[in-house]
Amino acid sequence: MTRKNIFLMAALLALACALPFVLSNYRIFQMALVLVYAIALLGLNILTGYNGQISLGHGAFYAIGAYCAAILMDQAGFPYWATVPVAGAVCLLAGFLFGLPALRLEGLYLALATFALGVSMPQLLKYHHLEKWTGGVQGIVIAKPDAPFGLPLNQDQWLYFFILAVTIVMFVLAYNLLHGRVGRALIAIRDHHTAAEVMGINTALYKSLAFGVSAMYTGVAGALGAIAVQFVAPDSFNVFLSITFLVGVVVGGLASLSGALYGALFIQFVPNIADEISKAAPWAIFGIFLIAFVYVMPAGVAGAVRMITARRKST
C-alpha cells in the first residue's frame, strides 16, 4: 500500500465513523445494510471475480447465514455477536461441500447448478420437518441488540458500528488472502486452467476452497442482515436475491475489493430511486440504470475509478 492509499483509507474510515452522528436512524439502518451487502458481494467477488466461477445461488448461503443467526438467538439463546462466526463456519462447510461436486461443472453449467440451489432454498426453509426451528413460512422474529458497556449510542448506531467493525475485519482478511499465494493461484486458475495445473496448483482444492470462503463471507453477511432486519422468512431469500448479488458484483467491478462497496451502494439505493421515478414500471427503470452503468462503465464502477485516476497520473 502506498502512503496515499493509507491516507485515503483513513479518510474513508473517519467518514464511516462520522456518518451515524449526522444521519437519521433510518439512513443509518440503510448504511448498515449497505455494509452487509458489501460483505456478501465481496464473498461472491472472490468466487466470480477472482476465480471465474459464476454463481446464481449465493442468496442460498445468505439465507443459511441468516437462519443460523436467527435460530441460535431464538432457540439457543445465543448473544447476537456469537452467531456471526457460527454462521460463517456453517456456510464455509456448506460452500465447500457444494463446491466439491460443482468442480465437475464449468461456466454455464455451474451457473445452472447454483441457480437450482438458489431456487430451492425458500422451499427447503418451509419444509415442515424443519418447522420447529425455522418457523415455517412465518419465519422468526428476533430482538434488536442494545449498545453494551453503557455506550451513549442508540440501537441503530450501535448496530452500524458493530457491522462496520465486522466489515473491516472481513475486508482486511480478503485483502491478505487475495494479495498472496492463494490469490495468485485463484487468478491463475481463472485465466488459464490448464496452465495453472501445469504450474503445480491443486486446482480442485483451490476451486472448492474459493467456493467455501465465498459462501462464508455471504453467510456472515446473512447473519448480520438478519440481526439488522430483526426478521427472517423464506420469502426474504428468493432467487432474485442471488441475481441481485451478481448484478452488484458486476456493476461494482469484478476482481476488485472496492467494487464490493460500489456494488452494495447500487443494489441498496438504485431500486429505491427506480421506485420513486415510476410506480408503474420500477423494474424497467432499474433496467435502464443497469444498462447505462454497464455501457458507460464496462469494467464496473471500480474499473472506471481506476481508469480516471490512471488518466490523471499520466497527464
Binding site: N25, Q230, F231, D235, K279
Partner: protein, 403 residues
C-alpha cells in the same frame, strides 16, 4: 357545478357550526391543517406484483377524494413504496415512512410475511398498522398488539362459515379435507374444526396435506376418495385447488365440494380445472364481483365503473384487486372522517376500533364493518356462493362467524 356548490356549502356549514372543534386541533407527526400523510407498502414489482393493483387503486380513490376537497378540509397524502413482497424491504420502507417521511400511520401494508416483519416495530413505535391486507388470523390481537388491525374476513372465520353450513344442511356428512401444510392451511383447518365443535369432529373422516414443493395432489385425492367421504373441503392455493377439483372429478368421486376463498377465482382455478368439472363448487364472497351479471344494474358497481374509467383507465374491472382497493380506501376515508380534528395516532386507533355497522356499497348487501377495542376484525361476515358452470351464484343469508 351543483355538486361543488353543495360541497362548498357543506364545508362552510361545518366551519360555522364547530368553532369549538377547531379550537381543539390535535396533531401527531404526519398531520397538519392542510394534509394527512398516510404510508403504505405494496409489491409493485416481483412475483406478487399482481397485488400492486390494490395500492394503485387506493391511490386513485384518494386522488378523487382530494379533488373533491379532501377529508375535513385536509388532503390525503398517500405515500406508497414498492417492497417487492420481500420482508427485509418492507422493514426498510416502513422505517422510511415512519422515520423519514413522518407519516401519521401505515395503511393496508400487504402480505403476511411482510406485515409480520414490521409487526413488532410498529407496535414499539406506537404507529398504527391499520387494515393490513392479509387473511391471517393473528392480526386480531388487540391485547398484545394494540397498534395493528386486520381487514378482510380471516381464514378461521371463513372456515367456520363452511362448517356451519355443513352442520345446517347435512349433519350426517362425512368430510374429507385437503390442506396446504403451512400456517395458512393450518389456520383454515383450525377454524373449520372449531366451527364443527368438539362433538362433531368425528364427521371428519380423512385429512391429507401437501407441500408447496409437490408437483401434484393426485395421490392425496385418491386417498381422500378411498375414505368414503361425501363432502370435500379444499384448503389449497390456486394451482393445487385446480388440480384437486379436476382429480376428484376424473376419479369419479362426486362429493359436495367447498373451496377456500383464496382459490375462488374462476379464471385462475375453475377454468384450468375445467368449468364443467367445477359445477357445484361452493365458496364464499364478501365483495360484489363486477363480472357478476346480477350486479349489472347495481348503483355501486356503476359508480365503481365510472371511477375506474376516470381515475384509472388502465385498470381492469375483472381483476378483483381493483374493487378490493376501491372498497378498502373508503374505510380509510371513514376512519379519517371520524377522527375529525383530533389527528393523533391514538385517536386513529380509537376511531378504527369503533366502527359500528359502517356500510360500504361495494360489500355484499348485509355485510358491514364493525369493530371494538376488543375486536380488531373489521369484516367477519361472508355469503356462500355456488358455481353453476358459468359463474357464481350467491345463496342463503349473509353468515357471521361467532366469536
Amino acid at each position: 357545478m351543483m355538486k361543488r356548490m353543495t360541497c362548498m356549502a357543506a364545508v362552510l356549514g361545518v366551519a360555522l357550526a364547530s368553532p369549538a372543534a377547531l379550537a381543539q386541533k390535535k396533531y401527531d407527526p404526519g398531520a397538519s391543517d392542510s394534509e394527512i400523510k398516510v404510508g403504505n407498502t405494496n409489491p409493485y414489482s416481483g412475483p406478487a406484483s399482481a397485488y400492486g393493483a390494490i395500492g394503485k387503486s387506493i391511490a386513485a380513490y384518494i386522488k378523487m377524494v382530494n379533488e373533491q376537497g379532501g377529508v375535513n378540509g385536509r388532503k390525503i397524502n398517500w405515500i406508497s413504496y414498492d417492497d417487492g413482497y420481500s420482508p427485509p424491504k418492507t422493514v426498510e420502507m416502513a422505517r422510511k415512512l415512519v422515520e423519514q417521511d413522518q407519516v401519521l400511520f401505515l395503511y393496508q401494508t400487504l402480505g403476511t410475511p411482510s406485515n409480520t416483519a414490521i409487526h413488532k416495530y410498529m407496535n414499539m413505535k406506537k404507529v398504527p398498522q391499520l387494515h393490513v391486507a392479509t387473511g391471517a388470523t393473528k392480526w386480531n390481537d388487540p391485547k398484545e398488539y394494540h397498534w395493528t388491525m386486520g381487514w378482510q374476513p380471516n381464514y378461521q372465520d371463513e372456515a367456520k362459515v363452511y362448517a356451519k353450513h355443513i352442520l345446517q344442511t347435512r349433519p350426517n356428512a362425512k368430510i374429507a379435507i385437503l390442506y396446504q401444510n403451512d400456517d395458512y392451511g393450518k389456520d383454515y383447518l383450525k377454524g373449520f374444526e372449531d366451527g364443527l365443535g368438539k362433538d362433531h369432529l368425528k364427521m371428519i373422516v380423512a385429512k391429507a396435506s401437501y407441500e408447496v414443493a409437490e408437483p401434484t395432489v393426485d395421490s392425496q385425492i385418491l386417498q381422500l376418495k378411498a375414505s368414503g367421504a361425501d363432502t370435500f373441503f379444499n384448503i389449497s392455493t390456486p394451482k393445487f385447488a385446480a388440480q384437486a377439483i379436476r382429480a376428484a372429478y376424473d376419479s369419479g368421486w362426486k362429493p359436495v365440494q367447498y373451496v377456500n376463498n383464496v382459490s375462488a377465482s374462476i379464471g385462475a382455478v375453475l377454468k384450468p380445472a375445467g368449468l364443467e368439472k367445477s359445477v357445484g363448487v361452493i365458496t364464499t364472497a364478501y365483495l360484489k364481483d363486477p363480472v357478476d351479471k346480477s350486479w349489472a344494474n347495481d348503483e355501486a358497481i356503476k359508480k365503481f365503473d365510472a371511477w375506474l374509467q376516470k381515475y384509472m383507465p388502465e385498470g381492469n374491472r375483472t381483476d378483483v384487486n381493483y374493487i378490493y382497493g376501491y372498497t378498502v380506501a373508503q374505510a380509510l376515508v371513514q376512519v379519517l372522517k371520524q377522527c375529525g380534528d383530533n389527528l393523533t395516532r391514538d385517536n386513529v386507533m380509537k376511531q378504527a376500533a369503533s366502527m359500528k355497522d359502517f356500510k360500504i356499497d361495494t360489500l355484499l348487501p348485509g355485510i358491514t364493518v364493525t369493530t371494538s377495542d376488543r375486536d380488531y376484525a373489521p369484516l367477519q361476515a361472508v355469503q356462500l356462493e355456488r358455481f353453476d358452470g358459468k359463474q357464481y351464484e350467491l345463496f342463503g343469508q349473509v353468515i357471521k362467524s361467532d366469536r
